[in-house]
Homo-oligomer: 340 residues x 6
């Protein structure tokens, strides 16, 4: 039977300038919807799972547009609560070469920040669920959202649903102190954690929170660090991607996973970029998909990295690819020959 | 010497679905910027005046885009204060035939609602100014905006600058009681008022506030009503447009002005509609332009109605027409022959 | 509890030239998906019903795109069979004024014409269903499709599901003789029939099959004709729209319904046209929606005509409107004032 | 055997603002190519004739684009001379309702104004030709163009090719005095003249040159006027369209032809407008097409008017319609029903 | 005198998603027309030859659009037979980086597969012709097309017209066995063959049919292989391109030609890719163009490779470049400096 | 107080094919305005200076559009003279990979070539000005423009305004002899010269005028050369960029400056290209901006190169970047990480 997976978070409207126009040049914006957890939900639906997304959206035509956008990609929105005033917005200007992409947030006071928690029927939501995923972005949206996530985690736990969390620290939303104060309670109920807290580190200078990409990857230290994370928070797996930013349009990507014994490192890909937003979420979804299907965690990591690399070739937040397409890349087919 | 005119209000981002698409169908939005008073500012600049727009915009690329948009049409933005968090937004879906246009506001907490009043140097702003215009939309945005408008009116008065106000009641922003409580103090310093308060009416049932368009235009009652407005608020002119809505794409328009003696009614135009947003502002600007030039008030009204009719043929909020084009219409040339 | 409604038919790709371009001028095509019954399914979903669409689509990215397009508007596609080679296509060129719109069909050998009937689990499909709708277009697609419809009608009957049929004669697909040979067996199991067979007529010259629109509407003859249809095929209601084609962009529309006693005629609307494809389906959906909710058949007709009129203002095949918007029109609000 | 028809004139690049944007609003221009005589050439090719267009175009990628554009519609460009510096340009802003369309010419010094007359092999061009058409726009482009037209007319005459001329007076190009000084010599070699010279009129005040459209059509006076034209210049037919400009988007159109005996007036059409540029050329082409095929001149006029009316529904300068489509309109089918 | 060249094959409609959108994301398709042999025809016309394309297209507006599209680029379509029901379609999704481009064929039952062979007047077609080119795609379309090609080859032979064939094996259209059974008879009448049959190989494992690109290019083996092809089928030249697929957007390209004595290898180019469809056809056309002009076969190969490389920078199937532009690349100018 | 900077030159309309389309493929052109000196003016305005652009534009809607386009980016156009007939045009086709970009000029007889010199009030223009910049393109437009520049230089000198000149030799506009005859008189009044005259060289073969980019950069020879330039023309700084053209989409860039003592060479950047037009002007503007602010000339050069590199990532002629963005690049941040 098809597995039921649940993700919860904010669904934002993304307004992007066409092509490589700067904000002041644009006479129109391309509209897509996305958000860390919604992106995961779409990937899981693309892979064939019964994927539910939980959020709050205003009961107006913009909220309806956001909802329809998710439904188009097969995500079930039956648990979406219709309340609140506005859909959060982020403006996006795609960079190229030496010019970085730019995000301007206009997400304050969005519907989910005013979540009417009583309207979320978590018992119904987690009934027969096989996985729950959330990210550190939602608790960053304020007290109400912290409560919402806490209630969800609690209910998932009660229903015996495995939980993954992507720490996803965003400095525009909160500072490291707040982040490290709030997250531990949420992590300790999770089975899989993507990323780590800087507080776990002994040698904080070397493994700074925001510094995921390492030219000089030091296996021993990562192992030590992840081991500490894993034990302190009682996790099954600690995972992270390792990104190298050569330019706005050229990156490298690999990932590591620690299962308590071995630190497994995936193959590293080098690739050009069409749209990198959501690549981390594509990674998380790839990992979850494989773990839900009880695949080996190394296989899962390989799948997750390939999925994330593919996301960089896709416009918008969603990783609109099939399982077969990811598997082609895992198998090493990067030739880009026309398929005809 | 070129006259200096000042307008103050909010500058919003308008996000419109392309063509006649509904919100849920759109994959992109056309972006223009506009707002009741900014629209007036652009018209006055188009007609050749030295037009200043006063507002507060956030110091980010979106605020910069809004500012550039005004500058493009020759409006001077030197008095714009850069502060606050966001540019207010309204989503717009153009109707056609029996389907009405739809506006979804997302303007709460915009920069001007947090106006840092001390930063507005009204003495500088009104020095050598020849006119000041504002509308009832700004005070509708909350206490801080009421104070902002009051300070502006006060300063204009002090500098002997003639003032016009367009009442522009919007029921999504405040209710009639609030409106009628706040506006009198602002009106009584004005010289020209577009619209009237329902409280002025004896026979309120007949002249309801929102009911500007009259199939059966009753001259006597309007004269009585405007006479009372004029006296109570010590106005020079009371003015209003008279609109007939046949459908979303076909309207009629005329206007009346009262100078204390005579109620003058303009010619009535029948026309099809490309974009009716800002037509009222085009009317206000046409009127102001003529009055600033000391034209006769009847001539002014004729010009204002023709300008407003032309606006219905122009996309966006701004009435991108020249004085000559308005005059062609005033003279009766509605044949639409190709000019070659 | 939300009603379950089932529609079955073909889902076509529609490729339209942008704006009013002719085929030879187009450098791109706008892509939407639609089809008589799918259009009904979307309307019923828009109105809040639990709407299922049954068809066969190829298991390739084009079939997936068609499927996603329906899901976006909330239609449940769980019963869609994935088999066959191609999605049927129709090319569309929008006319204007004296130039008619043009359709070029490229739908031969589409997936549904090769329907693998055994894969359609009609017992599951009609379990707990509250309505079934199909149109005369599906049996026009060949022997296999006739069998498919017969099996569906049989199963619906078995499960006690009310049935409606829209005759929808299309002369490019079959000739009148074939049409009149096949349809009776399908009609006689239905409760509601939109349209009538010419064979039912005594005075065939006057009521030709294709000639739905009448300038000189003759109530008595329609009553006689519909009475004969109703009795012969044991129908509850016989219905038709009455369209007046003034030009490609200006039409009139009314409708009549006969319940065995009275021939009720709706209000007639005059309106300009943005996109008239699917207007008949919007009518059928409006009627079904009201009848499923057990509304009075006259109310149902009024709703159906207003829904159909609104469709003319919407791009694409789908009538993307809410129940409230239809009701506004039923109540007589055709002024097209901006809603703000 | 397919008839060979020759037209000669300028082929301009037309840069139009998208939709109804004003010049200052446009961020892109739609590009088409056209010109009075080229438009005729395309129509004649559409109707199935072997249509040659003669002009001079620069030997650069812009000249090549213009040439390809004609070829696409089947016009033979083998006689086009490649020389000169630039393709003439006209900027076009489409009006709507009370706002007229606007043309800004940037055609000075275009390739044809520098025509290298020796390179035009008129003996080859008119060998076996069945018709030659030109308009008054070409001689308006200066001395060199007058010579070019004179040589063409002379050669056509020598080869016994029937000639038509569309006077097409354009006040931005020359004044009436120049026009009336140059044209007589060209007209007197023609068989068919569209339009008339004001100098032919006795009552010049009443039939002003530019005033083709008459609300109060006076048959007797037109007969008198055309009779004088016909005799003085030894013409077979004198013809003109009668246009009524209700607005930029709504016109009426009829036409008259005089054969020396009777002044025949066509049916009058009322229609809305998508793009009116080239409507006069569509008329000329319709007339020529019928006359080349030796149709009756009244039939020819009816065809020509219908063709011209259809042009108003087509974007660009070219009348992209088939003979069948024109005939449908001649037969009175203006209902605009979808053809499916 | 300009050389007359004839190509024959299918002309398909290509529907591409805009930019790098995936099929399920697209709301419009870009429309171009193309096909292996039509692409060759356009290149030959671009280079100044008198290029005829032979095919069958339906007599409807879509067939007309395809025809016009060829004419635009100067190809003579006088020999195109108007019959059959539909234009074959292929959907195209452009890949980037590690994501390959995707083709979905919808070409079954296209007009040419129903070719009405009697209507092809091959004696007229090959009269005074200087070259005939076809590819292995046309016989892959079924029995009728095999006959059509056979008749064409026979007639060309009869008229002494040199023949080239591009084997162009496409595994979606037929399997290797069919391919190797049908092609020999067609090859043995040709003078130039692009590609080789696997049956000719002794060491089939090493030179698999589809494996044209070789990292480790083995000159001796290719020489042996091509020598056998040449002798068995009595060819003048055996040719192939050697492609290296680094990614969907980065390739390498060289080519080899064998004249019975020497295996000549061209320079190898490295380049980024805008659109690689038709690059093989651009190669064939470059080769043919040079051979028709009696250029040395090595020069011909150099020209052909440069032409093919340039094609990768051009959108659509057609290689819209001039002879001069190819020569610039042959001469080694790859700097990409702005030409101003 | 904000510095006042003045630039003078031509403002052209640039018509670019969308994406990478060739001229013959385009159905629309993107419209931007630009020109060597106007591009500098916009950059200086972007950096916060009070930037005036001096030119002549026709008094028509196209001239108005050009004017508005400059104003949008904050440039003051109060000194623009409205006279003349046309805005100069250049058509632009963007190259990629091995295909170079192409410019087709259509700028003859533009408004500035007919400059009504008396209408330029240079005393007013240079009053309180802090810098004047012009380029070698303007004198290349003919005698009248030479006089215009001479008068400007003279007036600037009189008002003590520092002057920079970018030699900008364009072989389509004049030949080297004319260039070297005209420029010396203009250079000798300048303080900063970008580029050098070939006549200054001893070893002309090695440092050809057009050959700015050097793979083998020879410091000693450049020093010698610049030293001679500096002395002969009494310059403060001689400057040039050093470009390496790897392909149309991949370049390298550095620059050198000579102050009489030391030849300072900037860092070299390697980058991919979105739009390289205006990159030289971005360099000039960066240099001027820093020099106006009295920054060290080495810092100025570093800033100028970074600004120029950034320009390659921006569509259009204008370098729409902020000072902060340039500084980020100067500091070495080329990672292209998303800024969120």
């Amino acid at each position: 039977m098809t597995k039921k997976v649940v993700t919860m978070g904010e669904l934002l409207m993304r307004l992007s300038t066409p092509g490589y126009q700067r904000f002041t040049q644009a006479q129109s914006f391309d509209v897509v919807y996305g958000g860390a957890e919604a992106n995961v939900a779409v990937s899981l639906s693309n892979y064939g799972l019964n994927s539910y997304f939980v959020t709050q959206l205003p009961d107006n035509p913009i909220g309806q547009s956001a909802d329809n956008y998710l439904k188009k990609y097969g995500v079930n929105t039956d648990y979406v609560v219709k309340a609140g005033d506005r859909v959060g917005i982020y403006f996006f200007e795609k960079g190229t070469s030496v010019r970085p992409s730019k995000v301007v947030y206009d997400r304050a006071n969005s519907a989910i920040t005013k979540a009417d928690i009583e309207k979320f029927d978590f018992d119904e939501i987690f009934k027969d669920a096989d996985w729950f995923h959330f990210s550190g972005i939602t608790p960053a949206l304020g007290e109400n959202c912290i409560k919402l996530v806490e209630k969800a985690v609690e209910a998932a736990k009660k229903h015996g649903v495995p939980i993954s969390v992507d720490l996803n620290y965003r400095k525009q939303l909160w500072d490291v102190e707040q982040f490290e104060a709030v997250m531990p309670k949420l992590i300790e109920n999770a089975d899989v954690c993507i990323g780590w807290l800087s507080s776990i580190e002994e040698k904080q200078k070397e493994y700074k929170l925001a510094d995921f990409a390492k030219d000089s990857f030091d296996e021993e230290r990562f192992k030590e660090l992840f081991s500490r994370m894993r034990e302190k928070y009682n996790l099954k797996y600690v995972v992270t991607t390792l990104r190298e930013n050569y330019s706005a349009t050229h990156n490298g990507l690999a990932a590591i996973i620690y299962d308590g014994k071995e630190l497994y490192k995936s193959k590293k890909y080098d690739f050009s970029i069409q749209d990198r937003v959501g690549a981390g979420d594509a990674f998380a979804a790839g990992l979850i998909y494989q773990l839900v299907l009880n695949k080996d965690h190394k296989e899962a990591l390989d799948f997750a990295v390939a999925a994330s690399v593919l996301k960089h070739t896709i416009d918008g937040d969603f990783n609109v690819v099939t399982e077969n397409e990811v598997m082609e890349l895992v198998k090493g087919n990067t030739s880009g020959s026309v398929q005809r």
